[in-house]
Symmetry: C2
Subunit: 583 residues, 2 copies
């Protein structure tokens, strides 16, 4: 019976869960308040005759919030900039990033995400929350885990603690304890010890439990008192458990996987090259260095101008801010056939009174946010990219679903008009596949089950995710690995492209020429080989083998060294020496 | 763009999924037919006046099936005996077990599980299916993956392929592709490369897809033609998504976790010692060696006699066989208050006309099957232990749930009589916690979500699993590691008891005495140390350090060697020599 140290770990994980539950709740409340405030202000002046007034209210509030967020990060903790997942991958991989897990960074990142997400721009809080949670884990760990010995208080020393932190971070964001653990493993770990598995789960479940209890108290004292408990899942769906999809639809989901895989490759490609461009462009270098506030102002002004509800914004979901679109995309109602009247509000928002106009809305939304999310991703503020990607995927899925629903209003099974198409399922599938492809993870599927509170769409979701992942793997790294690459974070890369086939590569596959040097090669043979060399394509080294029969590789020999050796034996000097000896 | 070998792997995984989907379907159909046949025969003669007739029909059919299963395994492939998971863990760990993945073993195991599970005894097919699927993966891999090079056609060479095989095996058993992958990683891997993750998912999703399509064809041509598609989950539940449990209930689930963790420890302890007893007992050694059919006959006769529905069996769910109990334990109906009349059949089976009698039924069932499952687990046949364990846990959960439902018929929230207790949730929680504890896995939770098709019970399930796991980790290994231990399978064990605390162990914690030898110790000091040794507790070796100040360990020195060295310098011979020199 071994107890002692284990209890200390449990206590640590419970404390981590509790802290993150509180932080997560506070962040959500702050973001909600900011978004509500913005909307109220905008609605106050939306009817103003001079269109410039609502325009200024719509744009300037978010712009100032973004600029403040950028300023705080710049002056107090530049480590808080960005998603956080790539850096955590580097740290867990064993690299020490100075000040990255400090309390200062933690506070700056907290303030940062409240402002950036509260601004309503296309940002998410998953990545930042991974960072925040890891910092909390690190700080808590200092007190709770290492107590008396100072040797281990070192930022890169505690991968177990940080791995638990990452898991809790993802779990908090979407209240997805199981998917969170798996996702954090997929994005931060290269190799994984199964015996550490439970830590992430313990922390994640603690935080989920505390969140649930906190919500219980909040709700029973708050406005929705009658409704004792809010539903656990973030975007609950209500698809029927019987025939939500039929096997005939599976190829459509697979095709969606292919398309979204290609789209994800394009997304990552554009993202990478936009960042590289900004790094190399002289103007932007000056801007970033000396006039830090210009770029955030400009970009956020562009984004808010485009989404201005009285301009192009009317085709993009109206006067709501970005992060609020998720629920209605997933909802189980067919927009083109508002049977029960349950989706009136949505139809109003998305101009679905006219079918063709609705498709325009959905299309414009996707294309515009595809580009805006990339642009937004280049800003020097703390912000994540997971949610925007998910919303784009969901939007694509909704479009496909509604389209098929129009084509086949009575479903795809002959003689069974009761088995209809559910466009909501397509939306969930699209969100999962695009997220999975961009982050190159499979566990997004599990997050999706927890997020929707349903598991009926398991098969379509997993098929689309796997295919999208397979497609994107042909073209690019994950978005996080891409960031590691372009930021040149110190990171030991994985052995490339896993395949058992690689075990079968033989030396001849990677040899440039068939020449080898054996220990029993004669000088004549070596000379012959050297004579045959193409001087335009010089070979740096030759493999050296035990003997010509066994061919056991024992090392390599540089061409220059080989030439020198041969010269020593049969070169001019050697000949002169030999001549002198015989004289 | 690197394509080539990847496509070969995809094709392989799809073929694996297809093969396993077909095998899984055939097995299920065979088992169903056998169970139906048995029941029909029994019902034909249940009303016979002479009780011996139904008794013989009830007992002898299963007994003969078990004996045939044991005989087939004994004479054709002893490798097919047992669950299969421990052996797969050994093989994936790098050990070569002869003939374990051969086609002969595969066929024998297929026949074996049809007979053993079809007999209605407390056996499951999860473990065997892991074995079967791995064998299929190995055989398929021979053709599809290694094509031209013979070097790698070696049973222990392809852990990637086998890991995918295991995942597909679990996934097929409960149509739980996601949980299956995770479970197979937990029970077979020690360390895990994240880049191999997708293989398991790809295979599992392929098999799930094919199973779905196969079921579609089967159903649209079979008896339930109207019902185009069977529901995907094995034991679908229908709990409300709103308030299926309240936070006040969470401590109860935690307590269930503790109790089931203790029960699992007891289960594993008894299982281990029963097997060890049978291995050491002289009578049983003779029985197993020379009269192989006696033990299976005896044990299966005992089990079927105890479950005889006109005997004690009437308190254990009546004349159904073991594996059919699962659905009704999970059902969302409160047995003690049969409001809608939906659980009439169950109530009849479990004698719930009288509340106290129902608790007797549930209690007797648990205790009897707790012991019978252990007894059944000692038999030399191919059979798994996962399902029986799950059913016991579900039964315990149902008992607790019904009990609380009686105590608090109007729920636990004052003033909200509409929020009631759902005993079905307790049943799911119990099943998950007991399974998780016995196998020491967390992913059982995910399997449970896929099995029930709902995720509303995530929090209670995960809390109970984690606590049960924590409790069992204090007392014993997992059931699979226990089998590895008692069967003395060659296996490189993991570094024990994971904890970051272990980094802080210093040498003094594991040193038996405070004595050390330094390079600058004088002979006098060494002699003093040797003099102080307690001859009854001899010390084998001393640590050797650089010097008495730095204390850097540079090696160890055997006591005998040390004594010899000291003797060489100041022993009798040395003194005589010195005397001779001076003379």
């Amino acid at each position: 019976l071994r107890v002692g140290p284990t209890f200390r770990e449990w206590a640590f994980l419970i404390m981590l869960g509790l802290t993150m539950a509180i932080l997560s709740m506070l962040t959500d409340m702050a973001i909600d308040e900011l978004l509500i405030l913005e909307r109220k202000l905008y609605r106050l002046c939306v009817d103003n005759d001079i269109i410039i007034v609502p325009y200024l209210v719509w744009t300037l509030i978010p712009v100032s919030m973004i600029v403040i967020s950028a300023g705080v990060a710049r002056y107090f903790a530049p480590q808080a900039i960005g998603s956080g997942i790539p850096e955590m991958k580097a740290i867990i991989g064993g690299v020490l990033l100075k000040g990255y897990l400090s309390i200062k960074t933690l506070i700056v990142k907290m303030i940062g995400i409240c402002l950036t997400i509260g601004s309503g721009l296309p940002y998410g809080k998953e990545g930042p929350f991974v960072h925040i949670s890891s910092a909390v884990a690190h700080q808590l760990g200092k007190f709770m885990m290492h107590g008396d010995s100072g040797v281990y208080e070192n930022e890169s020393r505690d991968p177990d603690i940080l791995a638990a932190g990452c898991a809790v971070g993802v779990a908090c964001t979407f209240s997805s304890p199981v998917g969170g653990v798996l996702f954090s493993i997929e994005v931060t770990a290269v190799y994984f010890a199964v015996r550490n598995y439970w830590r992430g789960f313990f922390g994640a479940i603690s935080s989920a439990t505390f969140l649930r209890v906190l919500n219980f108290f909040k709700d029973s004292h708050g406005s929705n008192k009658g409704d004792i408990m809010s539903v656990e899942s973030h975007y609950p769906t209500h698809f029927p458990t019987k025939n939500p999809f039929v096997p005939v639809e599976l190829p459509i989901f697979a095709l969606m996987g292919i398309i979204l895989g290609l789209a994800a490759s394009l997304f990552i490609f554009l993202f990478k090259h936009t960042i590289l461009f900004l790094r190399r462009n002289k103007l932007s270098i000056i801007l970033f260095k000396d006039y830090w506030f210009i770029y955030p102002t400009l970009v956020s002004l562009i984004i808010t101008s485009i989404t201005f509800p009285q301009g192009i914004g009317q085709y993009m979901g109206g006067d709501r801010r970005f992060s609020t679109f998720m629920d209605e995309l997933f909802l189980n109602c067919t927009w083109t056939r508002n049977v029960s009247g349950s989706c009136d509000q949505i139809l109003d928002n998305w101009h679905t009174d006219d079918t063709s106009k609705m498709f325009v809305s959905l299309g414009v939304f996707q294309i515009v946010f595809f580009l805006l999310t990339i642009l937004a991703g280049t800003m020097p503020i703390s912000a994540g990219i997971f949610l925007p990607v998910m919303i784009m995927g969901a939007c694509f899925g909704r479009m496909v679903g509604e389209f098929i629903s129009i084509l086949a209003p009575y479903g795809l099974i002959a003689g069974r008009p009761d088995i209809i198409i559910y466009p909501g399922i397509y939306s969930v599938v699209g969100a999962a596949a695009f997220c999975g492809a961009v982050t190159r993870t499979i566990s997004v599927g599990v997050i999706m089950f927890e997020l929707t509170g349903q598991i009926v769409h398991l098969l379509p979701v997993m098929i689309a995710i796997l295919i999208a992942n397979a497609v994107v793997s042909l073209f690019s790294l994950s978005i996080y690995d891409t960031i590691i690459e372009v930021r040149k974070l110190p990171f030991i890369p994985d052995i490339p492209a896993s395949s058992t086939i690689y075990h079968q590569i033989t030396a001849s596959h990677i040899m440039a020429t068939p020449f080898i040097i054996a220990k029993d090669s004669t000088i004549g043979e070596v000379e012959d080989i050297l004579m045959q060399l193409d001087l335009k394509k010089p070979i740096k080294a030759f493999p050296l083998v035990e003997n010509k029969e066994s061919m056991h590789l024992i090392g390599s020999i540089h061409t220059s060294h080989l030439i020198r050796l041969v010269k020593n034996v049969i070169g001019d000097d050697a000949r002169l020496k030999e001549a002198a000896r015989r004289r």
